[in-house]
Every structure is written in C-alpha cells, then in structure tokens.
C-alpha cells in the first residue's frame, strides 16, 4: 500500500500537467467568450470533485453513527476539509469567469447557489469539529453531516422553484460542447480527482499519526504511576 502513494503522486502530477495543456492549448477557443472561457475547465471539475467528496463524507458519517468506527470518522474529517477547498475554488472561479463574460459577479442560479449552501454547511461542520470537546467531536460532526445531507434536496428544490419565479441569468450557459472541450473537461476532472485523492490520503495519514501520538501519550499517562502523592490539589 505504501508504494501506491508515490505512484499516485506521480500519476497526479502527470495528469495535472496534461490537463493543463489540454485546457489551455488543445481545447478550442470558445466562440463568444474567448479565452476566458477556459476557466470552465477548473470551475466545473472542482464542483464535481467537491460534491463527490461531500457524498463520501455523508456515507462515512452514517457508518460512524452505526459502527462508531474511528476510521470512518477520520475519512469524514478528511473529505470535509478537502471538499471545502474544492468548493472554494468553484465559488471563486465562478465570479472571475462571470464578470468579464456576463457583466455580473454573481447570480443566484441553481448550481452556484447550491454550491454556496454546501460550502456554508461544511464550513460550519469544520468549525463544529474545531470547537467541540474532543471526546464528542466525531458524534456531533456525524450528526451535522446527516442534517446537511437531508438539507441538500430541499435546497435544490427551493432554488429551482425560486428561479422559475424569478428568472436569473445562468452562468456557464447551455449549448453543446465541442468534443475536444469534453475531452479537456474530463481529463481535468480526472486530474482533479486524483489530486483530491492524493491530498485526502496525505491528510488521512497525518490524522492517523496525530491520533496515534495522542493515544501513546494517553497510554503513558495511564501506565506510569503518578508521582503526585505529595502533591495535594
């Protein structure tokens, strides 16, 4: 298993470079938007990657609630953190793309709003993890993740209907994609997914080390007779 990590790292590096080349050079320039449109190859895959990570977080949280498995908790933690990063990328690239092309920084369209709400929910998830007492963190976080997941379909429907009532401009536009653009998009998505897996894996290993360290210290405290007989508190 250990050898897989550097292999993945190399693969990710290669894919990212290839994807960059695809996005910036190979993919044809968009008719109306020009080269600015190339940000699309970062905007969309980062959203897909974030959604997948959040889905994994949801599953891991449920597993934790049923089994109280520490590995599930660590997986939830890791996917939440990395998911928020990719979500942020999506939320930042959105306005950067929208401003020169459509003249507006933001619009309450379905995808962007859903992404924003997910970002808010998962930032609150991370804050909860930081602020709660360490014994209870996994349980509370898992509960919040379940609530967040239950919320997502409700968010979707509420924004969908809102947009039929108050039509909003759509960022990202419809229309079919040139096959070379599809190719660039999918390559970028693959590269992003590998990158996400790599970062998650590193973070997971870091978390494992951190918990091992804490457990070792705790075990030491457990085993050594306290020299505090004279110390009365």
């Amino acid at each position: 298993m250990k050898r897989a990590f550097p292999i993945l790292a190399v693969l990710t590096g290669v894919l990212l470079s290839y994807a960059l080349y695809q996005a910036l050079v190979v993919a044809p320039t968009e008719q109306t938007m020009g080269d600015v449109q190339r940000i699309f190859y970062y905007h969309v895959p980062s959203a897909w990657t974030a959604f997948i990570l959040f889905a994994i977080n949801f599953v891991a949280s449920i597993v934790y609630l049923i089994r109280r498995n520490a590995k599930a908790d660590m997986l939830a933690l890791v996917t939440a953190e990395v998911g928020v990063v990719f979500c942020t990328v999506n939320l930042v690239t959105g306005p950067i793309w929208a401003r020169p092309v459509w003249g507006i920084w933001w619009t309450w369209d379905l995808r962007l709003t859903l992404t924003l709400v997910l970002w808010l929910i998962y930032v609150s998830y991370i804050v909860l993890r930081r602020f709660s007492s360490s014994g209870q963190t996994p349980l509370l976080a898992a509960v919040l993740a379940v609530f967040g997941a239950l919320d997502v379909p409700l968010v979707y429907f509420s924004i969908w209907f809102f947009r039929t009532q108050h039509p909003q401009p759509v960022i990202g536009g419809g229309g079919s994609l040139d096959p070379r653009m599809w190719h660039a998009l999918l390559i970028n998505w693959l590269a992003f997914s590998c990158f996400a897996a790599l970062v998650c894996w590193s973070r997971y290993r870091l978390e494992v080390l951190r918990r091992d360290f804490d457990e070792t210290l705790a075990l030491e405290a457990l085993l050594e007779p306290r020299s505090s007989k004279a110390r009365s508190s």
């Binding site: 014994g135 804490d214 085993l223 505090s228 007989k229 009365s232 508190s233």
Partner: protein, 226 residues
C-alpha cells in the same frame, strides 16, 4: 449476598489525562461503601461511570446482573455537588416534576404522597414554598438527596453529600443512609469526610491516581497508613 455491581478494568481518559486507570472490583448488595481519596483520584469519575453519565474508554460495568445500564437506570439514584434541581421552583414542585421522569404514579402509589414522604425522610418540610435557590446549602443537599430517593432506587450513588452541611444535618443524613442500607439498598458515598461514616459504612475504599488502592472495613487502620 450476590454482587450488586461488578466493574472490570475500567479506564477513562479525558484526552491525555487518565482519570480511571484500570479499576476492577466487586461490590456486594446491601452495603454502604465509602469512597475516599485525594482530589483527582478518580472518585467522581468512577461514580459518574456507574451512573452511566460518563462513557468509558475501556472496561465494563455489570449492575444488578446486566451490562445494559440503560435497562436498570430506573433503579439508580444519583446525587452530586450541583443540586440537579431547578432553583426557581419549590422543593415539592421540583420533586413532583422529577417523579414524572420515573413515572412514579405508574407504580401504584400516589405521586404527591411519594414526594412528601421523601422530603420528610430527609427531615425537610414538604409544605415549604420557598424556591430551592433560596435554600441554605445544607437544605439544598438534603432536597437533592430526596430527589435521588424518589424512585426508591436499589443503588444509590452520592457524590459529596455532606459538603457544606452542618454537623447535625450530616449526622441525620448518615442515619438515613444506614437505614436505607439496612433495608437492602447498595449505597456508594464519595466523601472527604470519612469520619462521618465511621461506624456506618461497611467498607472504606481508598482511591489514588485512578485506581483502587485499598479496601477495608476498619477506618482507623486505613488512616494510619495515610
């Protein structure tokens, strides 16, 4: 007499602090146990673990023949330094509410009578309408004990019941406890005032650094070595 409580290798860690470091013991039914020790020895943690308030890092507790503590929690009475009472209500009102938690009325005895009985048992006046927040510390401790006795528990867990209580009231509480013990209840008392229980407690248990270090029925012998 069969064992009322059996604890096996209890470990409780709060992060890097080990409050209980492998406590194993058997406690027979119908006895009064005094748990002594310095601050930080783990006495309160042990009591809270028995009450089911603290999840254990490791180890198991068997109470009244079962390890499923939830199923026997109706037979536990718990009392601690905070009064576990609402300051804004009178004693009777408090007990009337807490009696609902144990569905006392389902046991065929009138709710009201039961509350009045336990208040009288701790030598307080059941007609007192003053809110509990205005009680003296001693009165509050006794009302808290009354609350712990509401459901006629088989096992009583008392954490520092005598703190800030005047000598006379404390003596009355000890008499009450010995009476309850004689009636077959198993009582655990965590206290710093071991002398109060001399002659009353069946066994004194000394805890140190998260472990039970010695158990004896002779308090004098224990205090000699400390």
């Amino acid at each position: 007499m069969s064992a009322a409580v059996i604890v096996t290798d209890l470990v409780k860690q709060f992060g890097r602090f080990a409050a209980l470091r492998g406590v194993s013991a058997e406690f027979a039914a119908g006895r009064l146990y005094a748990i002594l020790g310095d601050n930080g020895a783990g006495k309160t943690t042990l009591l809270r673990a028995l009450a089911g308030l603290t999840p254990l890092t490791r180890g198991s507790i068997s109470m009244l023949g079962t390890t499923d503590l939830r199923s026997v929690c109706g037979q536990l009475g718990y009392m601690a330094h905070p009064s576990l009472l609402y300051d804004e209500m009178s004693g009777m009102e408090n007990l009337r509410y807490f009696a609902r938690l144990y569905e006392i009325s389902d046991r065929g005895q009138n709710n009201e009578d039961r509350c009045a009985d336990v208040i009288r048992a701790v030598k307080l006046d059941s007609s007192l309408t003053r809110p509990v927040g205005q009680y003296s510390q001693g009165m509050r401790q006794r009302m808290s004990l009354a609350r712990a006795l509401l459901n006629d528990p088989k096992i009583l867990l008392l954490d520092e019941p005598f703190s800030n209580v005047d000598i006379r009231s404390a003596g009355e509480m000890v008499t009450l406890l010995t009476g309850l013990r004689d009636a077959g209840k198993t009582i655990f008392v965590v206290t710093h005032q071991a002398a109060l229980l001399e002659g009353a407690a069946d066994e004194f248990i000394w805890m140190e650094a998260g472990q039970i270090v010695s158990r004896t029925s002779d308090l004098a012998a224990m205090t000699e070595t400390k």
